[in-house]
């Protein structure tokens, strides 16, 4: 009899431990869901807020919310740094355009202003870079004058930010003016991240190689020896040839000339 009682007490104890473990696990799951912005509280279930909170997870500050629906690319209308009307063709152009939505006040943008002022920087896909800042009502004219690159079109257009539903600065949108579609977009902290982001988008669509061959970079690297050298470097990079590549110096044995 005593043995039976001891056995029952032991079994009840084991079961109590299991239940306690399950309750703790459940509590941890609830806490984790709550941290993700999903609230399963029964009082909210009746008010219908559960479905809302599940579909709109809470994001950390600074991270843009996912876009609802698709943005249709449009031309950008605004003014230049001299406050003169300017329209930049984006759609129907047959070329790639990289829209860089930058601000004069955001610290992360500073690197991109400098990168875009560097004639030797490789623009993803050989796209035409266009800097879009907000209008003078939201920007410092003098700061923009100091930051704006010489050879890259800079347009002030709050409407452009609105049209492309830009959630944060810096933000980049790569538009294919041949199909009038956005083929890549996102935020980046460095030029390397941006190149990676856009290269992946283009690779997904099989665009990278073809577009690089049709590079419109001559528009952006317009004039002068340095510009021409940058263009040549970019075209060589597009063909997979880096500085020092042996293939650049191969000699055709039959003619004694450098291989083409």
């Amino acid at each position: 009899m005593v043995a039976v009682v001891v056995a029952l007490v032991f079994i009840v104890g084991i079961l109590a431990l299991l239940v306690a473990g399950l309750l703790r696990s459940h509590a941890e799951i609830l806490r984790a869901l709550h941290d993700l912005g999903i609230n399963l509280d029964s009082s909210d279930l009746t008010s219908g807020t559960q479905s809302q909170s599940v579909s709109q997870p809470r994001l950390r500050p600074g991270i843009p919310s996912p876009r609802v629906g698709e943005v249709e690319p449009t031309d950008i209308i605004g003014v230049d740094l001299s406050n003169e009307a300017l329209s930049v063709a984006i759609v129907g152009t047959g070329r790639l355009t990289l829209l860089a939505f930058l601000s004069s006040s955001c610290l992360t943008c500073r690197g991109f202003w400098k990168d875009l002022d560097n004639d030797f920087v490789a623009i993803p896909g050989g796209a035409r870079p266009v800097i879009v800042a907000k209008g003078f009502e939201a920007e410092s004219e003098s700061a923009l004058r100091d930051l704006a690159p010489r050879n890259v079109t800079t347009i002030m257009s709050s409407a452009g930010w609105s049209d492309y539903e830009v959630p944060v600065a810096p933000y980049f949108v790569l538009v294919d003016g041949g199909t009038d579609t956005i083929i890549g977009e996102g935020a980046a902290a460095t030029w390397a991240q941006l190149e990676n982001l856009m290269s992946q988008s283009m690779a997904d669509l099989g665009l990278a190689f073809d577009r690089e061959k049709q590079s419109s970079s001559k528009r952006t690297f317009g004039r002068g020896g340095a510009d021409r050298a940058a263009r040549v470097d970019q075209e060589l990079r597009a063909a997979g040839l880096k500085p020092g590549d042996d293939r650049l110096y191969q000699v055709d044995q039959s003619s004694g000339e450098l291989d083409q």
Partner: protein
Amino acid sequence: MTSIAQSGISIDLVPGWEARFQRSGASPDAVSAQSLEVGDQYSVVHLSNFSLPPDSGDYGSGAVEIMRTPDVLVVLTEFGPASVGTPMFASQGLPRIAPADFDPNRLQRVLAGQAGAQKFFTVSGRAFGIYVVLGSYNRRFRTTAMINELIRGIVIN
């Protein structure tokens, strides 16, 4: 359709075209333009079916050098009130451009393969010149219709 307006000039742009307004005299080739000596210039509008560089001159310097075969540059230049009523601007209304108007030597800067056309006119009591550069003289028959479609979208008040 993309529209842009400034200084009483509004333009409905043909798809794929872009426009830049600027004040005359602020560009490297402004001296050449002013040498016409028919009055002060006012608005200058560049219209192109290619990417306009940020610092192109009044008559397209900096832009014409990077033009390719299918590219077209249209420059609409306003002249001062002193020009209104002079024989040079006697033509009334926005002009039409014909293939015969183009000549490889009718360029502010002669570049191989390119051709230019220029016409002067008066609209709403304002004197203008329109200067068109083709990336290819050989394509003038194909591109003229597109240029006239663009001109039809210009309204001057």
